[in-house]
């Protein structure tokens, strides 16, 4: 997995959203474009433990520490990407 090159300025919401769509598309075996960004992660079979794993990979990709429970508080792709795009933590 390639690392995101920088965190300043934060990655655009669209790039983060796309990365998450690709991850989910691996889970449900469908093209990434067909992954609805407004549906909860649980809809795609990702439970609270599974999303912790996604957070770990995303942390490496973004190159910065993330709270592993971000997906619990922002439980779909759109909300998580929006949060990360505007979060400098």
């Amino acid at each position: 997995m390639e690392r995101a090159t920088t965190t300043s300025p934060p990655l655009a919401k669209a790039a983060i959203q796309r990365w998450l769509q690709l991850r989910i598309s691996e889970v449900i075996q469908t093209p990434a474009d067909q992954v609805d960004v407004t549906l909860p992660f649980s809809y795609y079979g990702l439970d609270s433990v599974a999303t912790l794993g996604i957070s770990g990979e995303m942390q490496i990709w973004l190159g910065r520490k993330l709270s592993p429970t971000l997906t619990w508080d922002h439980p779909n792709i759109e909300r998580l990407a929006a949060f990360l795009a505007h979060d400098d933590a």
């Binding site: 690392r3 889970v27 609270s48 912790l52 770990g56 990979e57 942390q59 490496i60 592993p68």
Partner: protein, 552 residues
Amino acid sequence: MNGFRRARWLDRELDRELDVPLYPYYIPRELGGAFVSLEEVGALVRVVARRDMTTALSHAFGLLGAVTVWLAGDATQQRALAGLALAGERISVALREPGSGSDLLAMTATARPSGGGYRLTGDKWLDDDLAKIRIAIVYARTSERGGPRGFSLFLVDKAAIAGGVHVTGKAPGPCVRGAALDELRFDAQLPGTALIGAEGSGFQVLLTALQIARTICGALSLGALDTSVESVLRFALHAKVDGELVAELPHSQKLLCEAWAELLIGDSLTGVALRGMHAVSSQASVHSAVVKYLVSTLSEQAMQKLAVIHGARHHARPPDEDPGLFEQMVRDNHAVSLLDGGTGGTTQLSLFGLSHQLRSLVIHFEATAAQAAELPATDLPGWAHHASPPVELDWTRFSLSAGGEDAVLAGIDAGIDALRAWLGQRAADETSQALEASLVRLARSKQDLFTAVRALSVGQVAAGHPEGFELARRYCVVEAAAAVLIDWRLNRAALTSTLADPAVLAVVLQRLTAQLGDAISLPPQCYRDCFAALRARRETDGQCSLHVLPPE
């Protein structure tokens, strides 16, 4: 109790053992306790578990409950809990439920806002005897929708809710002999100050506290295994088969050596993990899962081997020289997983959780491989050195994901190289050749594991595909090898009778590679030398552990 005799002596034993002031050792010093390190806590409960798993488990439950308050409680709650515990009051946890088992997101006991506090209603299992405890940490649903933000933890003082809780029965099924597992019914008004942390944080806090409890589980299993090895060795040294001492039979020696090697692996892994909880706390989600799975599994496998040596006596309790000690340890060790809030399948839960981190762990390892390979021996993590003081524990640094980092595994390539270099300076005897062959297999297995993880899809992991579990299992074994190599590199001056002995190390590496399905057959001399080391260890120190523990 549920078909199992509740021996009265165990009650007396429990009360007597609990009089030993262990509570202070897991209460922070700023709260009046004597906490130094989790490694010390692990060593203490291991000593207790060597004699009596019931007492050790009671302390482990108390520790789990207390840790939730150290992690998320406010200053008033922390002072109150510490004060009560130091005054001799017992703490336990009420997490699981009769109808929901150990699924933390399926619990139905509910705490609803009421009168400035909460109304707690529903049934729970208490991991203790209600009559004997004062404080229970209760896990309850605070949101109808549930989910990871739908549960909270409460610090419940039994004395403050008199009449609000009563025992409705005992948990069904086998449990540790002599241990109580009360089924409770709550209908109690709790003050608002009973809430631990923010409302909805219970699931997260509990998963974090379980990282510590799971690692302490390793110490419990190892205590039971330590007694088992010692007990069966004692038996083998006086029992005869066809006029020959059992201990003189090569097959007996091999089985005893293997069981001892598995004990040493568990000790090394658990010790490194507990020290790592201070120094690399954010990686505890990985280290705790590895310990919980592998130490439980190795202990049970080792006990099965020891049962072969015990033969029919394993089933027919001898009334004279050994009052069923080994049999008791075998039985009680099975129940250690109860601490996790489960029914024996919790080792699989540990693998499932770990499987979700495998991809990030391997990606991170490979990304930093160049630096790791260049680590000289002197750059090994100082925190893993037994003589170094423990890093001050910061409870805020624990995390539910390691973010790909694993400081234990990071040194495995350098560890293999270091041992290989050391072997290059020794005479090329059979033991050296065996060690070299095992190192080749270990390196190959690690690389095969990484390749397989790379090929593992997110979908397979999310769906709980068996491949995810198998790769997580293999990761645990490779991690254990890394821990052994850390101990060998950093601490072998203090391990002259165990890992520093080439024959002992050869059996240890052979057992690890056997778990990876790629083991060599050791030459008979290795087992003879290893068995001699085991006998010497027991005769000199009276123990079989990796390190010499304080006397009981």
